[in-house]
Every structure is written in C-alpha cells, then in structure tokens.
C-alpha cells in the first residue's frame, strides 16, 4: 500500500519505529518530525510525505478539530494495557511540523493550515488545550514509565509558560540531522560519554559558540543554544542527550548508529586510503549509494575496503568530512585538522583513530592550518615526533604527516586545541572541565587521593580565575597558570567533597582514599599461562600448593645460618635468617625460624666460637632419635657437634642418644 493511503494506525507504527526504535534504548530521544525524515519513512518526496501524514490525521480529527477522538483513543489504548505505540503519534507529529514552520510566536496558524489548507484562521483551535498537552504527557509516560526507556528516554519536559504549544516547540528544536551535528559537537569538545559531570549551562554556552561556526546547518542548534524561551528545555535536553550518548555518530536520516570511516596509511608504497569497520554476518560486498554509486565496499575481514580505489582521500574530504552510505548503513569521516593514526593489529598498517592513547606510538596527520602550532608544541614538549617531509607529496594537498608521536604522560605544555581534542582527558578546549587524575571511572567524579584532577578552563577565557570550596575551609581563589590549566593535583587534596566555581559554572568532585573494601569483580580474571595448561593469577598458581612450613626455636645466642637436625638420618635442613634485610630495616630479632622440610627439627646446629654446637630447637621438647644407623651427613654433623653448655640434663641425655645413634651403636 502506498504511504499516501496509510491510515493513522499505520503512521503510528511507522513513526514509532523511526523515532522510538528499540535501537535507541536508554538514549534521550526527540520526536523531531520533519519533512525529510517523513520522506524517508514513506518513500515519497518530502512534500508528498508530509501531505500523506496530514491527510491521515485530517481523516481522524477534521472537520471541527475533533482532538477529543484522539484523546479518547489514547485513553482506551492506555486502559487496555498500552500495547503498541500510542495512537496520538500522527497528531502529535503534525503539531511538531507546525512548530517547525512557525514564525515568531504564530504556531496555530501553521497548525490550522496543516489540518485544513483552506483554514486561514488564527488562534488556538477548539479543545486543543484540553487534549494536546495531555497526549504529550501520555507519550512521555509510555516511553519513560511503561517501556522503562527501552525505546528511548523522552525529552518531553513541562513547557512552563507555553503550556499548550511548548511541548511541540521543544520537540521541533532538535531534528535528526541536528542530533548528528550535536554528536559531532560532543566529539569536538571531547565529551567522554557517561564519565563526566554534565554541566548543562556550560554545554549550552559551548554549543552556541560552536554552532555559530557551522553556518546554515547549525542554525537550529544555534537557536536551541541561544533562544531564551528554550533555555530550560535546551539545558535539560542537552544534558539528557549527553548523558546517554554512546560516543558514536548517527545517520542523518534514520538516526541509527553510523560507523566511522577510517583512514588507512599503507606503507609501501606510501598511500592514504579509506576503510570502514565491518560487522559480523555482513555480506562480502556492498554497493554504495549516490553520489558514490560507482564504488563498492569489499569485505576484508573486519573491515570494508572501497573498490575501485577511485574513492581517494583528498583534502576536501579531510577538511569537510565524508559520508558514505549503502545497504542501509552509514559511514562518516568527521572533519578535523589533526587526525591520529595507530597500528591496527588486523591490517598491520596505521589506521586513524579517535583518540591518542598514552604510551602508544602514533602518527599524526595535520592540516597546514595548525602545522606550525603543533610542531612548536612538540618542540616545547620535547617529544621525539617529527614531520616527515618525504611523506608530504603522498598526502592530500595541505596535509602533513608527523611520525613517532608518543606521549608517556600528560603534556606539560598546553597543546593546540586540535590536539587537546585528541587527548581525551587532557584539559582545555571549549569548556571548563576536570582533567587528568586517578579517576575511579565507575563512580563518576571520584578521584583517588594522590591523583586529584586538574582544572582546565576554555582557551578563550580572559580571566582564568576560579574558586575552590570544600567543607570546613574558607574558599580559595586561584588563577590558572601557563595558559588555561591549573594543576589542582599538586595540592594533594585530602578526602572530601570539592567544588570548583568559574564564571557561574560549578564543577563538583570527590576525593577518596579508597572505596573497595573487598576485591571488586574482575580481580584475577586475566591470568598468566604456563605449562600444561596451568595458569597463575599473580603469585597464586593452579595446582597443589606447598604445605605450611614448620618452625624451630631460635636459641638466645642467635644465629645467621644453621643446620636443623631431626630424629632420622634424612632429617637435615639448612636454616638461614635474612640478615641482609637488617641492612635495610635495622636490627631484627627472631624467636623462631621457618623450616620447609617435613620433619621434627630437634636440634639446631650453629657455630659457636668455632665449634658446631647443638641447641634444643623443638618447640615442645627434644624428640628421641628414630634410627641407629651410622654414617652419612646426619651422623657426621652430630659427631662433629657438641651440645650447648647450658642444655638441660634431659637435653644432654638425649644428645647422647643421638650421638650413639650416629655412631651406629
């Protein structure tokens, strides 16, 4: 059936699949209906798709603006268990279309014309206020409460003053292409999803600055960031979206996750090309959509490789980005003036990545616009990285390859902004943030004592002062040093709650000595492999363990090295005390020493004034000899020794018994 003939029930299903797909589970979602997305849903041109939706809705509510019918249908739907999407979606979609095309505050005019092209009236249609706001709240209930976020988390907030139209206006503020652009903004500012304290006001201000530089395509985001009437909704929306963002970009039409397009630097000959990640169960090839329909992606293990290689990497791609799509999938290369590459274990060539990892060698592809600043920073930092002039002619025009880019620790000097964006937890960039530190990732803004964060202020700030507050101490005002990063870490902050204020923005974090009272999950899960399939986790080895050692008494005269003797001829063991440790820790005293052979140590033979002397060593008393066999080491040791002069009578008698046993008598 052509979409032109779809009824509202069909539209409801289609709209739910597109805007509230299970693929968006846990994410902040908006019902940002626009003609382009309707076009892709319906398979019609944008105008026809919009008209098809409006026609279906008209059949339900017109003539007479019978919103009550949709209201009743929604009540029935909820009463019957809310199975399937709410029947209100098509009508609400039309209100969003109206909000998107409203001028100044004229919402009802566009709405009326969408419902009846001949309606030139103004003002609120009858019963709009009785039903529409409730339908929005029902939609929020369906997503957040009934489905528990399984199809997304609604960003439908109470509209404040604009109690009737506010809901629709909110949803029209962020369309699917805007969402994708928003995610690019998040990547640009180095937002680490789910790990950072989200400062809504700071995000909104930074978005306003960034969107302004995006030209036409950033206009709606600019409005979202700067329209006072949207301020509250914008901050809630941005915070929700940022918190639930998974770090990946989106297809501009479907909103589904897109894959990053990567650069591949082949070594011999030196050549820069494109590859894209390929999932399992994917076909062996994929034809790309226009305008790249002359290119096919060929499977190469877990990567797609374009064929023919006519899809070259050129300067425009690097400067403006590149989008490819085919067979329902999307791939993006996001424009950036600095692109890190790291050795890929599958390709065994260098492949572009999103971030630089400390302690790993990288290449850095830099644009001519930042080349000088990057090289200058590399020199200041004392890095071994150097531009490879021989590679330049193999790179796109205006791009340069820096080799041996390797960072062992956080930079001592503020990097250029483009490099800051690559270092993840490094500071600076476009917003106030905490950077570095020994963060306990799973606990939010919690840092381990000895590893507190630093405070990074935006590069453009004129007055880099901020205030540090903590309970029990007067606030401290400080100025950022060496540009725009303050090493709060140098103060060895004790455990407690802290707040850093700058320009009305408050960053909160906590210092702890530790949290884990018992080993957390994951301890011992990586093991070192050894012989015969056995493994070790630290010092704990699979297989039988050694029994607890025994001990013997240390005589009052002390000793360094002695020989323990037992009642049987095989009972001989050298016993030593680690006097070398005393050279570190000072004198240590021992009342007993450990023994590792399984026998009752009866005597300890130690040299006293040049003569081997036997001391009673058994913890509970001397044990009689068990054998009378002469000869051997045991016998020689006994015969060459004498009993200690302060031995008890019992000990002396038993020593005689050992001597007799040693002589074979």
């Amino acid at each position: 059936m052509s979409a032109a003939a779809w009824d509202t029930a069909t539209w409801s299903l289609k709209l739910a699949d597109r805007y509230f797909s299970p693929a968006f589970g846990g994410e902040a979602v908006t019902f940002a209906v626009d003609p382009d997305s309707l076009s892709s849903i319906a398979g019609l041109d944008a105008a026809s798709a919009q008209e098809a939706l409006c026609t279906a809705v008209r059949q339900e509510v017109m003539p007479g603006h019978r919103f009550d019918r949709v209201g009743r249908a929604t009540s029935d739907w909820r009463r019957c268990g809310a199975s399937g999407p709410p029947p209100s979606l098509p009508l609400l979609a039309v209100t969003v279309l109206a909000a998107a095309s409203m001028d100044a505050s004229n919402f009802y005019g566009p709405l009326r014309r969408l419902l009846d092209p001949s309606d030139m009236g103004k003002g609120i249609p009858p019963s709009f206020d009785d039903h529409i706001p409730r339908l929005w709240r029902e939609l929020r209930w369906w997503l957040n409460d009934h489905l528990d976020g399984a199809r997304g988390i609604a960003t439908i907030t109470d509209p404040g003053f604009y109690v009737n139209i506010g809901y629709s206006v909110q949803q029209a503020a962020l369309r699917t292409p805007d969402r994708r652009l928003l995610f690019q903004f998040f990547r640009r500012i180095g937002l680490v999803p789910a790990e950072e304290q989200i400062l809504p006001g700071e995000l909104r201000r930074a978005l306003g600055v960034w969107a302004k530089g995006q030209g036409q395509r950033g206009l709606r985001l600019l409005r979202l960031a700067t329209d006072p009437s949207l301020e509250q909704h914008a901050e809630i929306l941005l915070a929700d979206v940022a918190r639930t963002w998974d770090g990946r970009l989106r297809d501009p039409i479907s909103g589904f996750r897109a894959a990053p397009l990567r650069l591949l630097l082949e070594r011999r000959p030196l050549r820069l090309g494109w590859i894209a990640p390929r999932g399992r169960d994917q076909p062996p090839s994929m034809q790309l959509d226009p305008p790249h329909s002359d290119t096919e992606l060929i499977a190469d293990g877990r990567w797609w490789t374009p064929r023919p290689s006519a899809l070259r990497v050129d300067a425009e791609h690097l400067a403006k980005g590149l989008e490819l799509s085919g067979a329902g999938q999307s791939f993006f290369h996001e424009a950036a003036p600095a692109i890190p590459l790291r050795l890929d274990p599958d390709q065994y060539e260098f492949v572009s990545v999103d971030r630089v990892i400390y302690g790993e060698p990288h290449l850095l592809l830099v644009s001519s616009t930042i080349r000088a600043s990057v090289e200058s920073w590399i020199d200041r930092e004392g890095l071994a990285a150097r531009l490879d002039p021989m590679a330049t002619r193999h790179m796109p025009q205006g791009w340069f390859l820096i080799r041996d880019f390797y960072l062992d620790s956080r930079p001592a000097h503020e990097p250029p902004t483009a490099v800051v964006d690559l270092l993840g937890s490094a500071g600076g960039g476009r917003r106030v943030r905490l950077s570095g530190g020994l963060k306990l990732r799973h606990l939010g803004q919690v840092y381990l004592s000895g590893g507190g964060p630093d405070i990074a202020l935006p590069n453009t700030v004129e007055h880099p002062t901020f205030t540090i507050r903590t309970t029990g101490f007067d606030p401290i005002e400080r100025v950022a040093e060496a540009g725009c990063e303050f090493q709060l870490s140098r103060f060895d902050l004790p455990p407690g709650q802290y707040e850093v204020d700058h320009g009305g923005v408050a960053l909160r974090f906590q210092m702890v000595d530790g949290v884990a009272a018992t080993p957390p999950d994951g301890v011992g899960t990586v093991r070192s492999a050894g012989r015969d399939g056995r493994e070790a986790a630290g010092l704990v080895v699979d297989g039988p363990s050694t029994s607890r050692p025994g001990s013997l008494n240390v005589p009052p005269v002390g000793f360094d090295v002695g020989i323990a003797i037992g009642p049987s001829p095989e009972d001989v063991e050298i016993v030593q005390l680690p006097r070398w440790i005393e050279r570190i820790d000072g004198p240590l005293t021992w009342s007993s020493a450990e023994r590792w052979k399984p026998f009752d140590a009866t005597w300890l033979l130690i040299p006293v004034e040049g003569r081997s002397t036997a001391y009673d060593a058994h913890p509970v008393g001397v044990v009689p000899p068990r054998s009378s066999a002469g000869g051997g080491t045991w016998a020689r040791l006994i015969l060459n020794a004498q009993v200690a002069c302060d031995a008890s009578e019992t000990a002396e008698q038993l020593w005689l018994a050992y001597v007799q046993a040693a002589t074979g008598d």
């Binding site: 530190g437 020994l438 884990a516 957390p520 704990v540 070398w580």
Partner: protein, 317 residues
C-alpha cells in the same frame, strides 16, 4: 639500592591502589592512569609498559598483552624460604586492606611490619611474625590467601618454547636499518647483508620488531626475550646463581645480564623469592634470595645452563 621507606607514595604505589580500586580493564585505561600519575612525578616519567611490567613481576597484576587487558591479582601474603618468617603482600592492595593490616598489627605483638622502597615502583610491604601459624592467622584475619614458596610454583609453571616452534615470517624490508644481537656483549650492532643467523631487530610500521634467522635461512617472529634466549640456548655464562655468604649478610641470588630480557613469568618467579624487584649492579640484574633449585629450574626452562658463582654484594656498586 633498596632502602626502607618513610616518604610519599610512589607512582607505583598510587597506580597499584588505583588498579586495585578498579579491578580490571583495558590496557588503555591503565596506560592513561600511569600517564596521569607519572606526569606529576618529579622524576622523568617512565613508560606505562615498564610500570606495568614491574607490577606484574611483583605479582600485583597480570597483563594479557595480546588482548590488551589487565587485572589485579587476588591478594595474598607470600612467604618464601630463607626470608626468616618475613612474608610480603602481593596482589590487590587498597587503603582498606592497609588499614585492616594496621589494625591487626596493633592487636598482636607477635607481628611486625616494615616496607621497603623500590624507587617509583610500589613499595614492598613485609610482615614479620613469630611463627608460620601466626602468619596464616593474619592472612585469614585479612581474608586473603597465604601462599608458600611462590618462586618454586611459578618456576614449575614456566614453559619456554624452542626456536623451531616460532612462527615463520618475512625478513627485514630491503632498505631499512637492521640491528643484530651480539651474543658476546649482549648488545646490538648494525646488521649487514647477508644476514647471519641470530636475532635481529628493525622498525616495522614505526615499531621495533624482532626476528630470529635460523640456520636454514628462515626468519621467525619472536619477542625480544624469546629471541635472545633462542640464540643463547645452551650457554652457561648467562644465568648465575650466587650462594649466600657465611654470615648471611649477602643473600643467595640469581643474576642475569641486564641487557637480556626474561619472559614475564620468569621475572615473576625470580622476584617472588624475595618480594623485591631485582637490583642492577655491574651490568647484571640480581634477584635476591632465589634458592639453587628454583634457579636451576628457571635456567633449564629457558634452555640455559646455570653457573654457580661467588657471593653477591648488595651494597657495593
């Protein structure tokens, strides 16, 4: 030189504490944490893999370099022969464990604790007890395992492969510089064609790689340690065992040339005999308190012949 510690936590101390709080993760996270902490150290920052290797040798963590994952080892109190009932803590080690240890020591006069600084590596924490039973009781009190003679068990685990089992590979690219391992000096010299059998190193894709050229003219992929041991197989002048001095002032020890890399499990086995990282003296790496049996097992597993030699002086350079 090893020395008693009273100062601030080292990079290794803080990194072990952080790793213990986190439990496990990807190499990138550990690397980043090491970079964060190293950047604040007054000394030259060390590479994350070096710090991680020390933690692994001390039995605190295990690293799977292929999968790029790590985990902290289960906590234990380890007692080695010849340590005079001085056991040391290994594995998971947080402030809470340190506090529980302090509490236990306060209550028991038969226990005495001391720590030994190891530069930027984590300090070694020892507990001296009046009897093995008291150590076992302490381990139970702390809810950690008691491990006896870890060096012997780890040495028994070592499984070193022979050169013939190493994967084949291509030789060095034509015009790149190649270095050859010198089996006499244990250093590296410039290699020249035609390449002679032995261990070679060259840069591939910007990273240093190692390859062994065998007598048949085949190249094999190796890591540095395996490669060096493959070409030194059968030698009796590489690993030495030093007997203890008569007055026990100088411990028995196992030593190897500082320029020779040893497999991670061998490092851990040798280190666990004392709980201390090896000293470096006169160009050799010295593992303290390794007994002759363990040393013989390790040398044999590596295809080397152990040489018995003079006492080692842990003071004199």
């Amino acid at each position: 030189m090893i020395e008693l510690t009273t100062g601030s936590p080292s990079v290794g101390d803080d990194l072990l504490r952080w790793a213990s709080e986190v439990g496990s993760g990807h190499w990138e996270h550990l690397s980043e944490a090491a970079a964060q902490r190293s950047g604040r150290s007054p000394v030259q920052p060390r590479r994350a893999w070096i710090i991680a290797s020390e933690l692994a040798a001390l039995g605190h963590i295990d690293v799977d370099w292929d999968a790029r994952r790590w985990s902290v080892a289960p906590p234990c109190l380890a007692l080695s022969p010849g340590m005079g009932l001085c056991a040391y803590l290994a594995g998971w080690r947080t402030q809470s464990l340190n506090r529980r240890l302090d509490d236990a020591l306060d209550e028991d006069l038969d226990l005495y604790s001391f720590s030994i600084s190891q530069g930027e590596a984590p300090r070694a924490t020892f507990v001296k007890a009046a009897s093995p039973e008291r150590l076992a009781d302490l381990a139970e009190q702390l809810h950690i395992r008691m491990v006896y003679d870890p060096a012997r068990h780890l040495a028994d685990l070592v499984d070193h492969c022979s050169a013939t089992a190493l994967p084949l590979s291509a030789g060095p690219p034509n015009d790149d510089p190649v270095e050859r391992f010198d089996e006499v000096t244990f250093g590296w010299t410039t290699g020249a064609k035609p390449f002679s059998p032995g261990l070679h190193s060259f840069a591939l894709h910007g990273m240093k790689v190692f390859r062994v050229l065998d007598d048949s003219g085949d190249w094999h992929v190796v890591d540095r340690a395996d490669g060096q041991l493959a070409v030194l197989r059968g030698r009796g002048d590489v690993m030495c065992w030093h007997k203890q001095s008569q007055d026990a002032q100088h411990p028995r020890a196992l030593s190897a040339p500082g320029r020779i890399s040893l497999p991670a499990l061998v490092e851990r086995a040798a280190t666990s005999a004392s709980g201390l990282l090896p000293l470096f003296k006169n160009g050799r790496r010295i593992y303290l308190n390794v007994d002759r049996d363990v040393a013989t097992t390790l040398a044999s597993s590596l295809g080397l012949v152990l040489t018995r030699t003079h006492e080692i002086d842990i003071e004199k350079d």
